[in-house]
């Protein structure tokens, strides 16, 4: 059976920000190929001529009035954060953008 290359697996893993062990890469070379074959079936569908239906909801232009609502305390902002630093949430240093 066809498999993806290691590089192909690593590329999509990077897009999804997932690190993989060698064992996992091997497994996904097959599993991801199965799913890619699945979605490739869409290429066979010929008769389509429609708008993109990105939601079943139409005619629903609904806008919020510009009024300030309830906000969290700085303490609540950090309550679930794995790492806090005073009122801040902390992460490893970001590469300077």
């Amino acid at each position: 059976m066809d498999k993806l290359s290691r590089e192909e697996v690593l590329h999509v893993a990077h897009l999804a920000r997932i690190s993989l062990t060698d064992e996992e890469i091997e497994k996904y070379r097959r599993d991801l190929k199965v799913l890619m074959d699945d979605i490739d079936k869409i290429k066979e569908v010929k008769d389509f001529d429609s708008e993109m239906m990105y939601t079943p909801i139409n005619d629903n232009t609904r806008l919020r009035e510009d009024v300030v609502g309830e906000m969290l305390s700085a303490k609540d902002v950090g309550v679930n954060a794995p790492k806090k630093n005073g009122s801040f949430i902390e992460v490893p240093v970001m590469i300077n953008e």
Binding site: T61, R62, R64, E65, D66, L72, A74, V77, I89, M94
Partner: protein
């Protein structure tokens, strides 16, 4: 002379004025304590959903209108997917396929030549959170997360730093006057990112983007530096890479930040949480109703009132004085005199006390009566200078103040006559000029009279008497 032609486009982000954020109801403010203007939506908590702030759509419509764009009637939002800690959902909600405005322009004038800077598109999107870097960690403050932005993208039609500065100055002025944004580059509410390429022919060269430029002036410097740098590289047969650079103010140079990955893969798709927005004529017209007069409209209007171009520019540069003056137009008075007063004694007072005019007690009625008194000669410019603090700080009328300060301009004929005689004696040359038909000499002589009288005589009366004496 260089044979390379530079091509420059600019992306500008401005933070939009509103009470609440774009997709959540937390406050859109600047300078609040860390993580206190935040709710679960801004933090990208699981299960939370965006709602769309009506005022931001209105602001988008206004911006599209004043930048002469076509307004998109049916639009959706898109997700721009990229992982970064300042991006709470790791996608940004923006408008990729249906920007609210397209095909606009801003007219600029450089060295007397007018040019339209074409706007490719403008779209609404959310801001990221703020990060600060401390050693090996970064600290996140989510107050800015979800703050509404408008991004304005020009076509690559700018040729040099001067044009770029003219465009940005004009853009800033328009957006500020239209109450879209406060456009403070130092606070980050206006961010400009030029991209520069040079080429010898019609094919565009490799684009270099410059970020983190702190002022319009520096955008100009950065662009001109980049053009030179790229020319030198090409002359030395070096290859220009697609990269992002920043501008170092102290060194006056652009410095490499990072080389672009091959094509940013933002994996855009339509935001399924926000159904189509359809803008009706009624909604659009209603949004435009609240637009104030914009600088070019003001220039035209003021010029018809007889203001000099110097006065006009000074007025437009001072938003609060300008708005005050616009209010004065409801009253009938001498507008030129009013502007003179606003830009001289009143401005000095405001600067000295660090106030804006709406902080003072200078009602329109009071200002009109000052002008009336100046015109009739019942008040001199010196009187105004003397009275200015009281005029601005108390709610007493001009008449009350005149009484209090015992201001009654000297109309004693003999006093004035003595001065006139003295001036005529001392300025025989000007007197002869006047008599041989040079009207300008009268102005000079009148100035001498007022100087002698130390401004304490009724100028109209003095002028009449001077003319009489000369014509004898």
């Amino acid at each position: 002379m260089s044979s390379y032609v530079p091509t420059i486009g600019i992306e500008v982000h401005v933070e939009i004025k509103s009470n609440s954020k774009l997709f959540s109801s937390s406050a859109n403010t600047y300078g609040m304590a860390t993580n206190t203007a935040v709710n679960v939506i801004d933090l990208g908590y699981p299960g939370t959903l965006p709602t769309v702030n009506k005022e931001i759509i209105r602001q988008g419509i206004r911006t599209a209108h004043i930048l002469n764009c076509d307004i998109t009637r049916k639009m959706h939002f898109d997700r721009k997917n990229y992982f970064y800690p300042d991006n709470p959902k790791n996608y940004q909600i923006t408008q990729n396929r249906t920007p609210i405005g397209r095909n606009g322009y801003v007219e600029i004038e450089v060295d007397g030549v007018r040019k339209k800077i074409e706007i490719e598109e403008l779209h609404i999107e959310e801001d990221t959170c703020k990060s600060a870097h401390r050693g090996n960690v970064s600290l996140l403050d989510f107050n800015r997360a979800g703050v509404p932005l408008i991004e304005i993208v020009t076509k690559p039609c700018i040729k040099n730093g001067k044009e770029a500065m003219a465009y940005l100055t004009k853009l800033k002025e328009i957006l500020f006057y239209a109450n879209i944004s406060d456009c403070k580059m130092e606070e980050g509410s206006m961010r400009c990112e030029p991209n520069i390429s040079i080429s010898k022919d019609d094919n565009f060269g490799t684009k270099v983007e410059v970020k983190n430029v702190s002022s319009i002036h520096n955008v100009g410097l950065a662009i001109d530096y980049e053009i030179n740098r790229q020319e030198e590289m090409l002359n030395n047969k070096e290859t220009i890479k697609e990269e992002t650079r920043r501008f170092d103010e102290k060194k006056g140079k652009t410095i490499l930040m990072r080389v672009k990955e091959t094509g940013n893969d933002y994996r855009y798709f339509i935001e399924p949480d926000i159904p189509y927005l359809e803008l009706t004529d009624e909604f659009i017209n209603d949004s435009l109703k609240s637009l104030p007069l914009l600088p070019d409209e003001l220039r035209e209007k003021y010029s018809k009132l007889g203001l000099s171009s110097l006065q006009i520019e000074k007025l437009i540069n001072n938003r609060s004085l300008n708005d005050y003056f616009l209010g004065l137009l409801e009253f009938k008075t001498n507008y030129v005199m009013a502007v003179n007063l606003l830009l001289s004694d009143i401005s000095s007072y405001l600067n000295k006390h660090n106030k804006v005019i709406t902080d003072t007690n200078l009602s329109y009625e009071k200002l009109v009566s000052i002008i009336d008194n100046l015109e009739s000669g019942d008040l001199s410019n010196k009187n105004v200078k003397d009275l200015i603090d009281s005029l601005m700080e108390t709610d007493k009328s001009l008449d009350e103040l005149k009484k209090e300060f015992k201001i009654e301009n000297i109309t004693d004929d003999s006093f004035i006559k003595d001065i006139i005689t003295k001036v005529i004696e001392n300025n025989s040359e000007s007197v002869n000029d006047y008599k041989s038909g040079h009207d300008r000499a009268l102005k000079y002589l009148m100035g001498q009279v007022m100087k002698e009288a130390k401004g304490s005589v009724n100028p109209k009366k003095a002028s009449d008497m001077l003319r009489e004496a000369l014509n004898k």
